[in-house]
Symmetry: C2
Subunit: 252 residues, 2 copies
């Protein structure tokens, strides 16, 4: 059972200011909870139904540091940040963010990406293609928003993410190539691509800001098929296409 | 102003059964409304604020067939299916669906895709890469769900979509190649790909059903980078990567 104070605490974490204050966030759902508990990452609180806790006893036992609360599905629903509550919810400390782009130079930098589903999908892309860092400009959706965590499917355990002004990021290691998709950019499939670098992803409706566009060393575009009508692709889809092709070209 | 009956009618269209019964759906938002009114597609009802209607007078005038309702933003919010209401909302007839895959053979077939954002993003992918048809198995999210329409960004105007059992679809033109992403599939970037065909996209958590997998002529996979950790990519992202690479390979 959850005390009133515990319920209030968990619900407060759906708000950015409380997450920032307490440096923790919510990881919810069977799959994410299992993955998190199987990792070495610390856990502050485990909230689960009795049957889930029974089924995952060894995982829970391995986390002495965590407070365990057994709840009914109804109780869980009340504190859940998701439309459909699951059988387990964790409160976990935010990982320490790396301050430097790794020397390999692969990273993704988001400029005011607004949609939680997009950010979660981009974290999964980074995770899949072994890109260790995703930077977010202030004004992007918070990476610890429960919908982002849900959509990222555990990518948080392996992909480092932090908020930083893109200008600061791009000036910090100016030798790194900077790629971005822009109108009239060079054909992604034909253009010369650097062996690694920073991929800048712009806002869903406005794209990459003109100031940031001037910092791009490689202006690319995903060619639209003759007869194609859409004005643009979804931001996460475009990021996936560019990353997949770039990583594949570089590794082959 | 909207009458009670009009408000009730529009709100009913957030439900699948009323959309099916009346064969109409809601297209909401400034961009989609403009694009729709600029096209030759018929419109049943235009609900807009006075300033929006003034700014788009010629577009509205061109649609004599439509009933025009001028409303306040507050009124629009009450009938909107979206979290944030916009300045214009259209009620439009569902287009007649094509019964046959075009002879060029390009289409996307979805098997129980559940997330409206994913379906919308996939319609945009089809639109961008000039794939004229997207088929959805029964059990997929409805293509006329307001969130799908919103995420598709006007793709409905150019991409034909309809519900059909995948088994029926695959038996109808058995000469067409059928691609699908599966565990241990051949490397997308290295495998031989047909010059066109049907791309099957599976459910977000379960992938392509075993029965359908047996019908694939080309079993492919997006290679995960060494050191990558994610279990999978988002369904729309994976669809984008496969489609982009396939279309590009075929056209070059």
């Amino acid at each position: 059972m959850l005390s009133n104070a515990q319920s209030k605490y968990i619900r407060s974490l759906t708000q950015l200011k409380y997450r920032k204050q307490d440096k923790v966030f919510i990881a919810e759902g069977d799959k994410i909870a299992k993955e998190w508990l199987s990792s070495a990452a610390p856990v502050q609180m485990i909230v689960a139904t009795q049957d889930w806790a029974d089924a995952h006893h060894p995982l829970i036992k391995a986390h002495h540091e965590a407070e365990l609360c057994i709840v009914t599905e109804q109780e869980l629903e009340k504190v859940s940040a998701l439309q459909t509550a699951h059988k387990a919810l964790l409160v976990v400390p935010m990982p320490e963010a790396e301050q430097k782009i790794p020397d390999t130079g692969w990273c993704i930098a988001l400029e005011q990406v607004q949609d939680p589903g997009n950010l979660g999908a981009i974290l999964r892309i980074a995770d899949w293609f072994a890109i260790p860092q995703v930077f977010c400009s202030p004004g992007s959706v918070d990476v610890y928003n429960p919908k982002v965590v849900q959509a990222s499917m555990g990518a948080f355990l392996r992909v480092d993410s932090q908020e930083i002004e893109l200008e600061t990021l791009l000036h910090r290691q100016p030798e790194l190539p900077v790629l971005g998709a822009v109108l009239n950019g060079d054909d992604l499939f034909a253009a010369p691509l650097p062996s690694s670098g920073i991929l800048v992803v712009g806002n869903e409706s406005k794209g990459i800001r003109p100031d940031t566009q001037r910092q791009l060393s490689h202006r690319i575009a995903i060619p639209r098929a003759p007869g194609g009508g859409a004005e643009s692709l979804n931001a996460a889809v475009a990021t996936g296409i560019i990353t997949a092709f770039w990583v594949n070209r570089t590794s082959s």
